[in-house]
Amino acid sequence: MPIAICGIAIDARNDHPFSWSFCAKKLTKGMVINVSYKAIISSSIMQKGKSATAGSKMLENFISPIDATVVENIEALIDVEIVGVGAMDEFGVGGLFGEPSRALADDGVVGIVASRDVDFALCNDYTGAISRAAAQYGLCYIHPTYGTVSRYGLIPAVSSIDQIGVLSKSPEGCFNGLKMIAGYNSKDGAMPVDYMIQAVKNDDEMVKRDVKDITVTELKPKFAEVYTQIMQIICCAEFSNNISRYDGVKYGYRAKDYNGLQEMYMSTRTEAFGEDVKLAAILGTMVLSHENYTKLYDKAMRLRRLIMDSMKFDTYDVVVGRGDDSNALILLSRLCGLPSITIRDCTYVANKCWESTLEAVCDMLESNAK
């Protein structure tokens, strides 16, 4: 397999890390930001009193009882408005097996940002398919560090990857959107509290640093040839767990005709789930089954750990890849919970919580490119 430029490592090291500073820089409630923004959210983000379907017939009648934290954050800002909800593929899982066709449609999140007067969209691109589609449409998508944006009110798909990110026409749009939604929130138990508190303390020191003395080396990420398989195993497994709550008992769709409990479950799920969801659920239960757990799921998790450990960011700060490498880096950031931004056919990945560095590097490289 020819690896042309498999990642350029850019050393833009500063004296001390910006860790989490980015999140704490979050815009505060009621703040006037002078530029007016129009935002949309994907249908897996819950708005109180409104329907939240995540693109599934299963949730066609589901009305959210709460506002997601990201919705609260946006609504607290003057001059930023949520103008609509963008369509998505059922629970976003289609991206594991192909193109996100629903998201690309005229009323889909990608379609809307690409063709209408909307500044950014909030959505959960856990499979990386939105980022790849964004590249085709000349858009940008930032996937923040795992745990920096609250998932309270996000309909879950793959809990260890789920992370609301920002789709926009430009990198600035992505970073501005992210500043509005990132930050610690006690309603999401997977947010690392200690780092967050530290970040808030250092709030004053937080300024975007200039990037100086860039050096470039080549980097070959470990196990890149099996990223797709690892992603599929882990995503299907967790996905099958997360959709097992949809049984027609408490809320959501329930089949009209059934005889007994087993049949109610079967008919409800047969009628309300689409093909991709069924495929992912079946693969997920398979990889978690007693006979396959060690062979498939556990092995995928061990590889994921090895990949995480191999991304040391010791002699480099940002990894860049173009084309196929860009696609590999998108998956790498999902597997490792690293922040990444895809700008057209390039993806940049930084260490956990180094969104500020990512922003600085993007600024410089993009302005040089112009």
Binding site: A68, P156, G189
Partner: protein, 474 residues
């Protein structure tokens, strides 16, 4: 052929937390169906679990009192199965890294029952079937209420050992505030793994698991039945023993198979990515250890050795967390350990027994209880009035002083009033007075009773006694 029974226990104990394991809904027993639910515990999407810190502390406490090693880092896992009382389609439990391991509980004989582990998990809701309308209803009040499961090694060889262990466990855990451990309310539940083998054999026999026993007596009966069923099967080959789960029916005194499908269930255990691993650390364990109240056996020691109280009564008090608490609180206020003990054993337990309330369910304000003891001790009311007031406090939680005042139950020590009352009695019962003077002691008691009645029970019986004797002698 001689056989021996080998048993291991899985005990589920509901933790005494205010709220549920992952949300702020009340974990209290006895609410209306689905009253204690919120979007999170009915399994709606979009509510990441936030773990209840108190549940972890109580599980640490359970580990400390059962001599377990508390793990440094714990994590949670998902156990997958579909049932309408399980809102998310998976139960959050600890499969790979339980909170406590390798403990023991010592029986009277000195034998130690060793524990494999204690893990935290969430309870499920319950289904209510309405046979007439052929519908089933789901009540999710218990869904996500925190439990611990205490898993023993197969160390038991008799029903007596099992019941003694469960009683020990109840004492240890209720005194540590981990749980109220009420079997009848389901806050303590027990599954028994049982097998039978030839005496002396090293090999374990086919094992069955029995569920659904809600009293110690039912457990003893179930063990008796199930071990006999195993022996019969081995001796007569009347049936083939299979590894299975069986349900105990205490009304008919039989166990029957719960198996619905062939093959063992595959729960697809998987680490829960929504709950970060939790670092416990020695400091946390120490702070829980320091906050633990006096355990039952130390209380017993203190009562007998330090306070010099009788062995039997001390055992009764230290055998119940509730009685121990009432004893300690009343003792602090009223002093006089002996008096407090007698009032609990003699009066409080009698009232509870009449109302069919078990020791642990006695719900009385210890301060009011203490004030009654002090009023009697100080001669403000007599003992029988004290008992009446106690009944009132027990049933209606009245304020003793106010109640005594309102019903003018204060002791009458006014000699003039007593004298006139006794004079009336003597005048009304001339025949009895003559009998007494004729040498019959029996009628004396009768006359005392009449005099007490005249004073509406408020007189001090001793004064009545003295005065009556004096006046009869006149």
């Amino acid at each position: 052929m001689r056989y021996e029974v080998v048993m291991g226990l899985e005990v589920h104990v509901e933790l005494s937390t205010e709220s549920k394991l992952f949300c702020s809904c009340s974990a209290k027993f006895g609410a209306d169906p689905n009253e204690n639910t919120c979007p999170a515990c009915v399994g709606m999407p979009g509510f990441p679990p936030i773990i209840n810190k108190r549940a972890i502390e109580l599980a640490i406490a359970a580990g400390i009192v059962t001599n377990c090693t508390v793990s440094d880092i714990i994590s949670f896992d998902k156990k997958n199965y579909f049932y309408p009382d399980l809102p998310t389609g998976y139960q959050t439990t600890q499969f790979f890294a339980p909170i406590c391991t390798d403990g023991w509980v010592e029986l009277e004989s000195g034998k130690r029952i060793t524990l494999k582990q204690i893990h935290i998990e969430e309870d499920a809701g319950k289904l209510v079937h309405e046979p007439r309308s052929r519908i089933s209803l789901v009540d999710l009040n218990r869904a996500s209420v925190p439990l611990i499961e205490i898993v023993s090694n197969p160390d038991f060889s008799s029903a007596d050992e099992v019941t003694e262990y469960l009683d020990k466990l109840r004492l240890l855990l209720s005194f540590a505030g981990v749980s109220d451990c009420k079997m009848q309310e389901g806050s303590m539940r027990c599954d028994i793994n049982i097998s039978v083998r030839e005496e002396g054999s090293k090999q374990l026999g086919t094992r069955t698991e029995i569920k659904n026993m809600n009293s110690l007596k039912a457990i003893a009966r179930a063990i008796e039945y199930e071990s006999q069923r195993h022996i019969d099967a081995l001796e007569t080959a009347s049936e083939e023993l299979v590894q299975e789960t069986r349900r105990w029916d205490d009304d008919i005194g039989m166990s029957y198979s719960m198996r619905e499908k062939v093959g063992e269930a595959d729960y697809r255990y998987v680490p829960d990515p929504d709950i970060m691993p939790i670092h416990i650390g020695a400091n946390w364990v120490e702070s829980v250890r320091e906050s633990l109240p006096e355990p039952a056996h130390e209380k017993y020691e203190r009562m007998t050795a330090e306070l010099g109280l009788p062995v039997h009564d001390s055992k009764v008090i230290s055998g119940s967390q509730t009685l121990s608490r009432i004893f300690d609180e009343a003792l602090t206020i009223a002093g006089k350990a002996k008096q407090v003990l007698n009032w609990i054993i003699g009066e409080l337990l009698a009232i509870a027994k009449d109302l069919n309330i078990s020791d642990d369910d006695i719900d009385i304000d210890a301060a009011k209880f203490a004030s009654i003891i002090m009023l009697v001790d100080g001669g403000k009311i007599n003992r029988s009035v004290g008992k009446k007031v106690l009944e009132k406090v027990f049933s209606d939680d009245v304020e003793p002083e106010v109640y005594i005042e309102e019903h003018s139950l204060g002791m009458v020590s006014d000699t003039g009033f007593l004298e006139s009352a006794i004079r009336e009695v003597l005048a009304e019962n001339e025949k009895s007075v003559e009998e007494f003077r004729g040498g019959s002691q029996k009628v004396f008691g009768f006359l005392v009773g009449q005099a007490m009645k005249k004073t509406a029970g408020k007189a001090d019986p001793r004064s009545v006694n003295e005065l009556l004797r004096k006046m009869l002698a006149e």
